[in-house]
């Protein structure tokens, strides 16, 4: 059954105004900065916060319309919370059996069903444990098993890997992706992790300040981000500007030369962090058409690269090798020159 949401939720000053649909078996990713309303969206669909107007329906079943709504416990919408919220006083098995028990299944068959779900998620051996005795990754799987054991019509996941440490995140992400891919119900996954957004979803919705600002496949969004937030999420530099005869004059200051330009007018320019080169002095006789001075603000290690956050006109994310960091003596506060080929910058109409 398709999940259809066209609703407005008011929480004090904040207004969430969203329309989206998720097909059976489809995994919709919702990304957005903190406070953009991602969690509120999930809570509204689950029935934990009321909607102000509009409607939420699952297939032909109306879950909420205006001020009238089906209570959370009758929605058959499962929500995997960011902090998992496994009941601390129950064993893993009884946590997973909780949904079936609430649906009126007797204790023994409910436990049998729970055991089966644990088996499906490869955690059958955890059945007798208490939540306090689980690792983050195990707890995440139990939370998923508990959500699925009630055989919901809709599955919602709120930042499923946010509570995990880096190692667990990688393994959980792979497994979770596999399990979600096998489901035949609409699934919504809220995340702020770009890898999760790209790998685990079929379609992405970008939420900013309570509104959908972009929607498309992960690939579409990664190649043509509509806002600086999305670009940063995807690890791209994105600049808004006006295309003219001398290249693109950027709204935030600075100018970029772009090889292929879609005529003139308002454009977005994206530039990969690895396409920018760092120099200590102004590069002479450069084949690079874009050269500008900047200051290293901070640095972070990303796998085998180091990402520099550089301020200048324009600001930029720049990826360099650890060897160049050592060779150039890069550190926060160091003044550098940046260069980028015009062919590396992509402009598209806004």
């Amino acid at each position: 059954m398709t999940l259809d949401v066209a609703a407005v939720v008011r929480r004090g000053e904040f207004v969430l105004d969203v329309a989206l649909g998720v097909a059976p078996g489809e995994r919709l990713g919702v990304v957005g900065p903190n406070g953009s309303g991602k969690s509120t969206l999930l809570r509204a669909i689950a029935g934990l916060v009321p909607i102000g107007s509009g409607s939420i329906r699952s297939g032909s079943r109306l879950l909420a319309e205006g001020s009238r709504a089906i209570p959370a416990e009758e929605r058959r919408v499962a929500l995997v919370f960011q902090d998992h919220r496994l009941f601390p006083h129950l064993t893993v098995l009884d946590n997973v059996a909780y949904g079936p028990r609430a649906a009126g299944v007797r204790r023994r068959p409910a436990r049998a069903a729970a055991q089966e779900w644990l088996g499906r998620l490869d955690i059958a051996d955890l059945a007798g444990r208490r939540p306090a005795q689980l690792s983050g990754g195990q707890s995440q799987r139990v939370a998923l098993a508990r959500a699925l054991a009630q055989e919901p019509e809709v599955l919602l996941l709120d930042e499923p890997t946010a509570a995990l440490d880096a190692d667990a995140r990688i393994s959980v992400r792979a497994e979770l992706g596999r399990h979600l891919a096998g489901l035949s119900i609409p699934t919504i996954l809220v995340t702020h992790d770009p890898v999760e957004a790209l790998v685990m979803t079929d379609r992405l919705v970008v939420l900013e300040q309570g509104r959908v600002v972009q929607t498309g496949t992960p690939a579409e969004i990664a190649s043509r981000p509509a806002t600086p937030y999305v670009a940063r999420l995807m690890g791209l530099n994105l600049y808004a500007g006006n295309a003219g005869p001398d290249g693109v004059v950027l709204s935030g200051g600075g100018r970029l030369d772009v090889a292929d330009r879609p005529g003139t007018g308002a454009v977005l320019v994206s530039l990969r962090p690895s396409a920018i080169t760092v120099h200590l002095a102004r590069p002479e006789g450069a084949s690079h058409r874009n050269v500008w001075p900047a200051t290293v603000d901070r640095m972070e290690v990303l796998g085998d690269r180091v990402r520099l956050h550089v301020t200048g006109e324009p600001d930029a994310l720049v990826d360099v090798t650890p060897a160049s960091v050592a060779e150039l003596g890069l550190a926060p506060g160091v003044r550098v020159w940046l260069s980028a080929k015009a062919t590396e910058a992509t402009a598209y109409a806004r």
């Binding site: 689950a46 959370a72 416990e73 009758e74 929605r75 009941f87 601390p88 006083h89 959500a147």
Partner: protein, 283 residues
């Protein structure tokens, strides 16, 4: 300026200043000495025969029965009230909360008088109970239970309400998304998570009911066998027969020690406890 003389520093940081040590010792003596005296001066030799007197057994049985009944009443009525106070915003919420807990700070005798004006034969409600149903509450065993519940229930309410307020409501939300009704959530999630406080509140309530004197004697009087509970029996016996009174008092002391043993997890190790209770205890 002369520099201070060197001293052995060894454990000087651990030494208690006299200004604090002396009052602490006095306080300990003040609290313990009377109990020790009671134990020392008890008529140990005749204890058996004194306690076998019919009235003692009667009073003790009555006390245990009424205190337990009052606690049951408090659980059935008080826990739901604690939930409402902790989880719902009602108009006049803080006033309600203050009124409900008033018996905590009010002298029990005043409670007894108030109960008489409510449920006595000429009381606000009692008048009609008498007129329509021929029911008279005061000076019955039921009146004892009411007096004890009136005084003791707030202890349970306050303890459980505090725990419910502190408890993570996220678990209730999780239960709802798993299809559990409000009532089912209350029984299977909310209550189990505040179990330690519920137990402590129940024991506190029971102990308070067991020791109740002022409200009981005012509202229920002192009729041997039906309303003369242990505290009242002790008071009355002390006048006529101090030895018997002392024996009764000793019995109550023993019951109190037993209560303390029941609560030991909560209070004996108050300083050493870790974050175990907050999560509902996963022992």
């Amino acid at each position: 300026m002369a520099s201070p003389a060197l001293r052995e520093v060894g454990r000087s940081r651990d030494r208690t200043p006299l200004v604090l040590a002396i009052p602490a010792v006095v306080a300990t003596l003040f609290l313990v000495l009377p109990l020790v005296s009671l134990v020392v001066r008890s008529p140990w030799r005749d204890l058996g025969s004194l306690l076998q007197e019919a009235e003692v057994g009667q009073a003790l049985r009555l006390s245990l029965l009424t205190a337990t009944s009052a606690t049951a009443v408090a659980l059935v009525l008080g826990v739901p009230l604690a939930w409402v106070l902790a989880r719902r915003r009602l108009p006049g919420h803080s006033l309600l909360r203050a009124l409900v807990t008033l018996p905590l700070v009010m002298p029990p005798v005043v409670g007894g008088v108030a109960l008489l004006y409510a449920f006595g034969r000429v009381g606000l409600v009692g008048r009609y109970l008498d007129l329509w149903f021929g029911i008279t509450i005061p000076f019955t065993t039921f009146a004892v239970v009411m007096a004890e519940a009136f005084v003791a229930m707030p202890f349970l309410i306050i303890t459980v309400e505090g725990a419910l307020r502190a408890a993570d409501q996220g678990y209730d939300e999780a239960a709802a998304t798993l299809g559990a009704s409000r009532l089912r959530t209350f029984w299977t999630v909310t209550l189990p998570l505040v179990r330690p406080s519920l137990l402590a509140g129940t024991v506190l309530c029971w102990a308070r009911a067991l020791g109740e004197f002022g409200a009981t004697i005012t509202f229920a009087g002192s009729f041997a066998g039906s309303t003369r509970t242990m505290p009242i029996a002790i008071y009355l016996t002390m006048v006529d027969d101090p030895r018997a009174g002392t024996a009764l008092a000793l019995v109550m002391l023993i019951v109190s020690v037993a209560v303390l043993l029941l609560l030991r997890e909560r209070w004996w190790y108050a300083g050493d406890r870790t974050s175990d209770t907050a999560s509902g205890g996963s022992r």
